[in-house]
């Protein structure tokens, strides 16, 4: 869906925001574009949207060059900017309907989306009268107008209180699941993204340090990984697993067990689970998450 091929972006004569960046983001994933402030995340988004022209290299979105086919690409992309830059002196309804008109979408679509992101009761309020959490929901609503195939969220939890952060991330996760849209979240706050992302692109000082599915990267860089097991006899299986040295933690849930394991023994663990599945004790084993912090530290030491 998104392909960067040796993309560089230089501002002025010396500010190199992106330096030979190459990565891919497949469709249908919830991906994280992760890196510290000033690493080139926002520049990457602007290149995807065709708001900036690459100094060199090639950007492809939906198989199109966004700088050349800006209207076609943007029609299929929703964007939440990092700063709440919305017109504060207009009502939520007026603003969202204006975006809908520009996207050639009906008012009914706007009302549907406001229900989806839980701001339907705020339509007549001026944006300036809303809390930061609700302004962020307005931002997500405007990004969803027109049923985009790709949603770019730039620091969606920046400057929000802890409760609002959790709410926004849960909302994003639910939207991705319900609407089947590809979501890319740019952030420098790794831990809060860990439970929801399945694909990551690490960026540092304009360079891509690595990218791929979180499960693959955690195996590649030997990072502790959590697997979700759906099974019969939850407590019995938990007792068996706890005896293995490579099992670092076990959490029992309503439907199964979440097991955190030492990445060096992933193959051994999966073999045991496969045997258990054949024996009929285990229904499924799936990758839940891996420590983004550890992964980032490994990549930083490598680079």
């Amino acid at each position: 869906m998104i392909i960067f091929n040796n993309v560089s972006k230089v501002f002025g004569e010396s500010v190199r925001a992106l330096d030979n960046a190459s990565f891919e983001i497949p469709s249908g994933v919830l991906a994280g574009l992760l890196g510290p402030n000033g690493s080139g995340k926002t520049t990457s988004f602007k290149l995807v949207l065709g708001l900036l022209k690459p100094s060199s290299g090639r950007v492809e979105v939906f198989g199109l060059d966004p700088w050349v086919s800006e209207v076609e690409v943007r029609r299929r992309v929703g964007f939440l900017p990092e700063k709440p830059v919305y017109p504060m002196d207009v009502s939520v309804e007026r603003f969202l309907i204006h975006i809908a008109k520009l996207r050639r979408v009906s008012k009914q679509e706007v009302y549907r989306i406001t229900k989806l992101v839980n701001i339907a009761h705020l339509l007549d309020k001026k944006i300036s009268a809303l809390s930061r959490g609700f302004i962020q929901r307005v931002g997500i609503a405007q990004a969803l107008i027109g049923e985009p195939d790709l949603l770019l969220l730039d620091e969606p939890t920046a400057n929000l209180d802890p409760l609002a952060r959790v709410e926004i991330l849960n909302l994003v996760k639910a939207l991705q699941k319900d609407l089947g849209v590809t979501v890319v979240i740019a952030t420098h706050i790794l831990p809060e993204l860990q439970p929801i992302v399945e694909y990551v692109v690490f960026i540092s000082r304009g360079r891509i340090t690595d990218y791929g599915y979180l499960e693959d990267l955690s195996r590649k860089y030997l990072v502790e990984t959590t697997y979700k097991i759906r099974c019969f006899g939850i407590r019995r299986l938990a007792k068996i697993l706890i005896d293995y040295d490579f099992v670092k933690a076990i959490e029992v849930t309503d439907t199964g067990i979440n097991v955190r394991i030492d990445a060096r023994y992933v193959d051994e663990f999966l073999k045991i689970m496969e045997d258990a599945r054949r024996a009929g004790y285990v229904f499924s084993v799936s990758h839940l998450t891996s420590s983004l912090g550890d992964l980032y530290a490994r990549l930083a030491s490598k680079s």
């Binding site: 501002f11 602007k46 949207l49 708001l51 900036l52 022209k53 800006e70 209207v71 943007r74 029609r75 992309v77 929703g78 964007f79 900017p81 700063k83 830059v85 919305y86 017109p87 002196d89 207009v90 007026r94 204006h98 975006i99 008109k101 520009l102 996207r103 050639r104 405007q142 107008i145 027109g146």
Partner: protein, 251 residues
């Protein structure tokens, strides 16, 4: 053809949105102007009474425009522009909508709010025989309108350019004050010492130039030259503003 209609429709949709935000000071100004003209034209249908009022209103027009330009600068500096570009506007459509909101709409509003009341209350004032080429500095109402509108366009275009080049709201207001107060005043004072200095007004203030030219001791040039000069300068600044705005959206 349908593509063209869609592009124009997008410009108009965004123009409507911009106007809903920036129109308040201009609407108040135009409503006041309209009432004033209707009253004056009805009770005192003579051009010499309207002339001082024209100048009076002229002083406030750039200030109302400065509020609108402030909105454009605010959008570009804050990055709000990106919201509209992502929603489907092209850079050209975005800039066109703003230029229409800042330059075209206020001037059309100005023309309508001044001519309609006069046409209703005292139409004979406007419908006079005027030839700007053969009677260069004649103070007919129609002649004054052409000159006035050229000056408004000129001043607005310069303000938009300065605003986009500096990206500072304060400078736009300063420019409004310079163009409507300080520059005509300074040139007028200097003209008292050297009458030829009055020709400087041809570049930015053709209406003031027309007024000064009416005095017998001032060297005269045909008024249409002042109108053409000032209009050409306005066009140059408008084109440069469009180039600057588009560049700002690409950075």
């Amino acid at each position: 053809m349908q593509g063209l209609r869609q592009r124009v429709s997008r410009i108009l949709i965004h123009l409507d949105f911009i106007l809903s935000k920036v129109i308040k000071p201009l609407a108040i100004y135009l409503a006041f102007l309209s009432l004033l003209y209707a009253a004056i034209a009805y009770y005192l249908p003579t051009t010499w009474v309207i002339l001082p009022l024209l100048f009076l209103m002229l002083l406030f027009f750039p200030l109302t425009i400065a509020f609108a330009i402030e909105g454009l600068i605010d959008e570009i500096v804050s990055g709000r522009t990106e919201l509209y570009l992502v929603a489907g506007l092209t850079r050209t459509q975005y800039v066109t909508a703003w230029i229409m909101a800042i330059i075209l709409f206020p001037i059309v509003g100005f023309i309508l709010s001044t001519t309609i009341p006069i046409l209703i209350t005292a139409p004979d004032i406007i419908i006079q025989n005027i030839n700007l080429i053969t009677e260069p500095v004649r103070m007919s109402v129609l002649g004054l309108f052409v000159t006035l509108i050229t000056q408004l366009y000129n001043n607005t275009a310069i303000m938009v350019f300065v605003g986009l080049a500096s990206r500072r709201k304060g400078i736009v207001f300063l420019m409004a004050i310079i163009l409507s107060f300080i520059l005509p005043l300074a040139v007028s004072i200097m003209t008292a010492f050297n009458p030829y200095i009055v020709h400087l007004l041809m570049f930015t203030s053709p209406l003031y130039y027309a007024t000064w030219s009416a005095l017998p001791q001032i060297p005269k040039a045909p008024l249409w030259i002042a109108i053409v000069f000032s209009f050409t300068i306005a066009m140059i600044f408008t084109i440069q503003s469009i180039v600057l705005a588009k560049k700002a959206l690409e950075a």
